[in-house]
């Protein structure tokens, strides 16, 4: 029972982190109709910049400055890259972001080398906040939860309560009309892209010390962010939140409990074959939930796409 509580907290941390990435990605998507494959690369850049800044100015300055740099870079990518490719259509746009992701990974290796960076939790947060039957919850995790919730509330406030937010929401759905009303839509696009990537940057800054700052960190997270927003429904912020938390908890619980395929199959009335060792399905029978925890989101996505192509909260199918 205690472990369940611990798992809920861990899953929440994972889910919220994922949400910081998927929120930006889904904003960018609903605006430009482009799945930005390089989104996780901006997350990685956030971590590396923050590491570099933290050496000189400490963790907190890194948290402040690194996302700004990432956001400016993101805006630059929109202005000088995507906007140019946009005229060729959606597929080249998507492929552009795909190539960009590869290039950023190579650039990071070029600058920082291939080893993991010793980027770590600031000392002020390096203690155990509380423990539940021997399992300690580090203070940094509590900090992560609060930061991501704060960012979500801030984002929601800006989008729904401010004039800028109204214009953005309108521009998402009716770019031509908004343009006709005298707003600079390309500027809004650039801004939203910048903010979206900056959000990814924040995620990188706070995840870097826990999940490691290394050149493969974008790749590990990259496709799962897509899976999240597809499950949630493309373009839906609430969907992104729900899917992020769902994935966070599913993967956490699947890893925490050894559920065996054999017991599931037996449970639904299929009995174990006698000569399992010789059966060609032997590997299938012996699958356990931790083994497949991280591919569960993909299974979920494929099922959702088959039966409800619009995703959990989505309004349109594509």
């Amino acid at each position: 029972m205690d472990l369940i509580l611990v798992n809920i907290i861990d899953g929440l941390v994972t889910g919220l982190l994922l949400f910081m990435l998927s929120a930006g990605l889904t904003l960018i998507f609903s605006m430009m109709g482009v799945l930005n494959f390089a989104h996780a690369s901006f997350y990685m850049l956030g971590a590396y910049f923050a590491y570099q800044i933290s050496i000189a100015l400490g963790f907190w300055m890194g948290l402040l400055i690194a996302p700004l740099i990432v956001g400016v870079l993101g805006a630059g990518v929109e202005r000088y890259g995507l906007r140019r490719v946009h005229q060729y259509g959606h597929v080249p746009e998507l492929i552009f972001t795909f190539g960009l992701a590869l290039l950023i990974e190579e650039l990071v290796q070029f600058i920082w080398g291939k080893n993991q960076m010793p980027y770590s939790v600031p000392e002020i947060l390096d203690f155990t906040a509380f423990a539940i039957s021997g399992n300690s919850i580090p203070a940094y995790k509590v900090f992560m939860i609060f930061t991501s919730v704060a960012i979500f509330i801030g984002l929601l406030y800006v989008l729904t309560k401010t004039r800028v937010g109204m214009i953005i929401q309108a521009a998402l759905s009716y770019p031509r009309t908004v343009e006709a009303l005298g707003h600079n839509v390309p500027l809004i696009f650039m801004g939203v892209f910048g903010v979206g990537t900056a959000l990814a940057g924040v995620a990188g800054v706070i995840a870097g010390p826990v999940l490691g700052t290394f050149p493969g960190m974008a790749f590990v997270l990259g496709s799962i962010v897509f899976v999240t927003i597809v499950i949630g429904g493309l373009g839906s912020l609430w969907g992104a939140l729900a899917a992020s938390l769902l994935i966070g908890w599913i993967t956490t619980f699947a890893k925490s409990y050894n559920i065996e395929m054999e017991s599931i199959l037996n449970g639904i009335g299929i009995s174990t074959p006698d000569n399992l060792d010789e059966s060609i399905f032997r590997d299938f029978w012996s699958i356990t939930s931790p083994q497949i925890a991280d591919i569960l989101p993909y299974i979920l996505m494929v099922l959702i796409l088959i039966f409800r192509p619009a995703g959990l909260f989505g309004k349109r199918s594509s």
Binding site: D10, Q116, P138, G216, D294
Partner: protein, 414 residues
């Protein structure tokens, strides 16, 4: 159009390949390992150690035979079996007769089969495969062949030594096994189960699980289970980012016991663990670095540090590869007749500067050597890793580990 492009491309290709095939007097070793991509750091560090060892142990002492120099030719296999096979072919075409590789048993497996086939199909250009780090036991058991020599202890031998050490520690009652879900991870788990069962039947295996390799973002849930299981010790064969992620998560979430590992040192990992891993991370390896085994080794390491201030000698067996190969070539009196060289290599007894005698067992071409279990610490460290002040200090040694471990190898000699 297509044909013309292809023609142009291929002429450029043969130019590049041909240009590097011009010299033949050096004894060349093809180093086929990842030099780009996610595993590049391990590969590059290995390459540096090979290059340094060849220069320091052979070339600066006047070379081999009639003054021939030993040259390491680097090939980037991007840790892909397919690329490795292409690069193997390129290396053979350049007249190279010695292939060194270590990262990934999958690649080693592809290479050893390809070398075997090549040597059977092309007796005039036979090559030897010097495996310095791939530890899948099968390579010197079911899949052994005459051309393959392994200079690292295989996973079973390491586990044998590791469990010898654990068996002596009475405070360990519960052990948790966790590893990557692939052949090597499974081999580690199987060996641990079997050997602990034999040596310490009272130890309870409280967890035995595999996680997807290279896919886990956050190891926290695994760490929770380990802590909750009440384990006194953890054994893992993880490497790379999976090692670091798992180790950090276990420590951060309140585990205090020893974590026995295969690969938690060097390549940034020691640096990244730093203070948090002190006295917790244990490592099974060969070669005495702290305390340094011999004065010769100290001089070697210091010379290495001058050349690579950021580098580590974390695979001291590479020096054994160069030393033993040099000796075999000298004894055989030829570098081109690889069968003669191989015959000298098998059964060779060699005095390693990293401590102890090593023996290339002729039955399976597995090098038998002393195994050390060390602890991650910053005390009494002569040579640290990653310039972090932390290194691995040897706590116990198993001499000539698994000298008589059985092998299923049926060696076919030409």
């Amino acid at each position: 159009m297509k044909s013309i492009t292809k023609l142009g491309a291929v002429s450029a290709l043969s130019l590049i390949i041909g240009a590097s095939a011009a010299f033949a007097e050096n004894i060349k070793i093809a180093f086929i390992d990842p030099l780009s991509g996610p595993f590049a750091s391990t590969g590059t560090n290995g390459l540096h150690q090979f290059e340094f060892a060849a220069d320091y142990m052979v070339n600066e002492k006047g070379g081999l035979l009639d003054g021939q120099k030993m040259e390491i030719v680097a090939f980037d296999n991007k840790i892909s079996p397919k690329e490795s096979l292409i690069q193997l072919q390129v290396a053979i075409d350049q007249g190279i007769r010695y292939i060194a590789q270590g990262n990934s048993s999958g690649v080693a497996n592809a290479l050893t089969e390809a070398v075997d086939k090549h040597n059977r199909r092309n007796p005039e250009t036979r090559v030897l495969f010097l495996n310095y780090a791939a530890v899948d036991p099968a390579l010197t058991n079911d899949k052994c062949n005459f051309w393959h020599f392994r200079f690292d202890a295989n996973a079973d031998i390491k586990m044998d030594a590791l469990t010898d050490v654990i068996a002596k520690d009475e405070s360990i009652k519960k052990v948790y096994l966790i590893g990557q879900d692939y052949s090597f991870g499974k081999a580690v788990a199987a060996a641990a189960n079997e050997m602990l069962g034999k040596k310490r039947p009272d130890i309870e295996i409280v967890g035995d699980e595999l996680h997807p390799i290279g896919k886990v973002k956050d190891f926290t849930p695994y760490a929770r289970k380990i802590v909750s299981s009440g384990a006194d010790a953890v054994i893992t064969g993880n490497w790379g980012a999976d090692m670091l992620g798992l180790g950090k998560a276990i420590i951060d979430n309140g585990f205090t016991g020893p974590i026995y590992t295969y690969y938690a040192a060097g390549s940034g990992i020691t640096g990244a663990f730093g203070e948090s891993g002190k006295n917790k991370i244990r490592l099974i390896s060969q070669g005495g670095i702290n305390p340094i085994a011999t004065e010769e080794a100290r001089a070697t390491y210091e010379a290495f540090k001058v050349k690579y201030p950021d580098g580590n000698i974390d695979q001291s067996r590479i020096f054994n590869v160069i030393g033993m190969l040099a000796e075999a070539i000298t004894e055989a009196g030829t570098a081109t007749d690889v069968v003669a060289v191989a015959s000298k290599l098998e059964g060779m007894e060699y005095e390693s500067m990293w401590g102890g005698k090593v023996f290339m067992r002729p039955q399976d071409h597995q090098l038998i050597q002393d195994m050390n279990v060390g602890v991650h610490t910053d005390e009494n460290i002569d040579f640290d890793y990653d310039n972090s002040g932390f290194g691995v200090f040897t706590e116990s040694t198993v001499e000539m580990a698994s000298m008589d471990i059985p092998t299923t190898c049926e060696m076919k000699r030409p």
